[in-house]
């Protein structure tokens, strides 16, 4: 959860708290209980929006049948899982799927020995996937370099914390399992620090698949899109990729990325959290 979200959550829950204090003004009758009920519903709604906003919001638009026009000639359907465009009576439905490929394929310039085999296999696996797909799709990698000094400071802070944990565990005569676990975490952090020291640039990446389906009606296009998305997910499962169908606000952001990218990393990091 980022800082902005914490601020939003705190202020929203403060109003709910204020609501509990205001309940006395509604008397002691049925209105009091109606007030309590609405307060509880609001708290539940805010918490649900905090954790599963995309699913909750798309359920609301789906139930109410609300559709959006993000730009001229485009439409986001009520399930908020596709962008539809009609051209000369043909409907084009576009859907998005997250596909965060192996970190070792893209993040590590100098791969550790055990990852080498996977890096060798990656190009061939990719070609096999492409050969087996018989509909248009795009694989996007949106990457942004991170501030080396900030990342280094952050990692050093984490390492110091683990060192403190280790000394405390040793003072308390903790079990060997706990000590080994802390040492393992420390060596992982140290490996990252070493990689940065060797000149590797830390980068943040967002990887996703985009596919477009056609149909003579909106429903036909959406049905074909569902089938294509399922096939993409199945094909990419051979690369050990976690694939999630993108819905809601993140779909809107990805639609906008087709025409312009965010120009700063900060802007990018606030758009995605749960589905990516």
């Amino acid at each position: 959860m980022d800082e902005t979200k914490v601020v939003f959550l705190l202020f929203s829950l403060m109003v709910v708290l204020f609501g509990f204090l205001a309940l006395h003004a509604l008397g002691k009758g049925v209105l009091y209980y109606i007030g309590v009920l609405f307060l509880l519903i609001t708290v539940l709604f805010i918490l649900a929006m905090n954790w599963v906003d995309a699913k909750l919001f798309s359920s609301i638009t789906s139930i109410l049948g609300v559709t959006f026009q993000p730009a001229k000639d485009y439409l986001i359907n009520k399930q908020q899982n596709a962008v539809i465009k009609e051209v000369n009576g043909i409907f084009y439905a576009t859907g998005y799927v997250t596909a965060n490929l192996f970190s070792y394929t893209f993040k590590a310039e100098s791969a550790p020995e055990d990852d080498e085999e996977k890096m060798i296999a990656a190009p061939e696996l990719w070609e096999r996937i492409v050969m087996n797909i018989s509909f248009p799709f795009k694989f996007h990698v949106l990457a942004s370099g991170l501030d080396v000094q900030n990342i280094r400071d952050e990692l050093e802070g984490k390492r110091s914390y683990q060192e403190f944990q280790l000394s405390r565990a040793m003072q308390n005569n903790s079990s060997e399992v706990v000590i080994t676990d802390i040492r393992r975490k420390m060596s992982t952090i140290q490996a990252k620090i070493d990689r940065i020291s060797q000149g590797e640039k830390p980068i943040a990446t967002l990887m996703y698949l985009e596919t477009t389906a056609i149909g003579v009606s909106e429903k036909a296009a959406l049905d074909t899109l569902d089938a294509q998305v399922n096939q993409l997910r199945l094909s990419f499962s051979s690369m050990d990729v976690e694939t999630t169908r993108i819905i809601g606000r993140e779909l809107y952001s990805l639609f906008n990325f087709n025409f312009s990218l965010p120009t700063e990393f900060k802007e990018l990091s606030t758009m995605f959290d749960q589905q990516s």
Partner: protein, 277 residues
Amino acid sequence: MANYFGVFFGLIVASAVLMGLVAYVPSLFLPTYVKIVLFIISLALDAMAFTSRYYAYLISPMLKQRKKHLSLSNENPYMLSQSGDAILRKSGEDFIATVYISVPLYRSATEMEDDEKLDFSQQISRLVGLSKEPVRYTTELYVMNKDSYIQKLRERITMTENDEAELQAKDAPKSDLDRTRGKLAMWRNMLDSISKGFSFELSTYVTVSAKGSKEYEASSLAQQKAKEMMSGIGSVFGVPPSIITGQDLLRFVEPEYLLPISTVTEQINKNIQEQVI
């Protein structure tokens, strides 16, 4: 989404003010049944305030339009720059220019040894880490545009059908008629085989964007970024990347260019015919 703080602040203040009225205004001035209505509205505004963290772009159109089909924008999502090498988009008072760079990669893993495959994966790693600012790398599989070829075949078929009709009207010799019918069958078969399935192309491209207060400023900044990227791509892969211009840009932004219209129509017609049969 830059204005979400303003939306949040407005909604949270409105919610707190209504809750304050409910709590502190005596029932003599504000009856209890009015208070419960204000109480519920205040909670709804509070929930909307939290929702505005990610959905600010929807909240004001929802409140203003109050209908099932909400229009967030009636404008085209982009416009082509005057030089034809970037697409432009308005973002508040500024413009964002986006440039597309084609990366001609013609290597296949089937022709590579293991060390070459490892080298290729590492090249991809270096490519992804080239820029400090957000850059998008894309591989796109799209349907080859056979529109003009299909159009030509259709014209040929129509012409040959006309020839056949003329010959029939003139009571031409049977051999001439057979020859024309044979030609017609040939063109029809060719159209059938061409439209039997899609042919695909795979291309790789890189997208960079830059913001500027004027169109030309955004365009030139994006071009500058693109040139930096191109020199990086060139040194990683040893290929000459190029900036995509004009009509070719549409293939990366418009869905109908992924699946060209007459190629698709031919395929749909064929599917329908097969279903009927």
